[in-house]
Symmetry: C2
Subunit: 140 residues, 2 copies
């Protein structure tokens, strides 16, 4: 019983803005930057402050409803997390085509490392990038 303790997540009020952010995020297939989401929402006619987008995204991440990674420029990219667990991809450096990978091995490995190291809250990032067959074949 004493397993349930839900304090960390501060009050949460369902506001139209937060729903908008969630919808915008869910509507995107891959990872998107806050900036991009903000722009896209604006384009769709819903005016939401950039600060609010950031706050909503932070809350979503906190609540485990979104994943976040960093791109090469240190920018944060967010992705809605459905019921599927996180996934890794092999991305084409040239055209952006992404191939979903079977990552059981990696997950198991990462879990073991986390356990054996004694570190807390271990999270991992695995990124594979190459040039897909089409891009390496065709000119351009």
């Amino acid at each position: 019983m004493p397993r349930t303790r839900r304090i960390p997540v501060p009050p949460w009020r369902d506001t139209p803005q937060r729903l908008q952010v969630l919808r915008a995020l869910a509507a995107r297939p891959g990872f998107s930057s806050a900036k991009l989401l903000h722009a896209r929402m604006a384009a769709d006619g819903c005016e939401v402050g950039l600060s609010t987008v950031y706050r909503a995204l932070a809350a979503l991440v906190e609540a485990g409803q979104a994943d976040v990674v960093r791109d090469d420029n240190g920018e944060r990219l967010f992705r809605h997390r459905g019921e599927e667990q996180h996934q890794h991809y092999l991305v084409c450096r040239h055209c952006g085509f992404a191939l979903a990978l079977d990552t059981d091995e990696i997950e198991t490995w990462a879990d073991r490392i986390a356990r054996e190291s004694g570190f807390a809250d271990v999270r991992h990032t695995v990124e594979l990038a190459g040039v897909c067959t089409e891009c390496s074949a065709g000119p351009l």
Copy 2:
């Protein structure tokens, strides 16, 4: 999403500043931020501009003499790379302490993916980050 890659390396002049940066980096056990290195060098009496520290670190990374990861704040942490090969680490998000990992499994896995996918020039990034035992015990 433009890729960022520049840094002309051709001419490389060994300057005292660059050597200082390299020494400072090599002197640290784990990953360190540019800011920290700069401060530590200053404390050791060698005045080197922050810009120079950044440039030297970029050059070292480019030359494969240093590894770089990102902490939770998007800050870049650098680590000197000795003669050891490509290596992955479990980094403490809080103090930067890094634990070298046995990554045979990952390497094998990545190689297999590269082979099976047909992608060319596949490179990978694996980052594990958590909070080390000391930091999770201490304050915060």
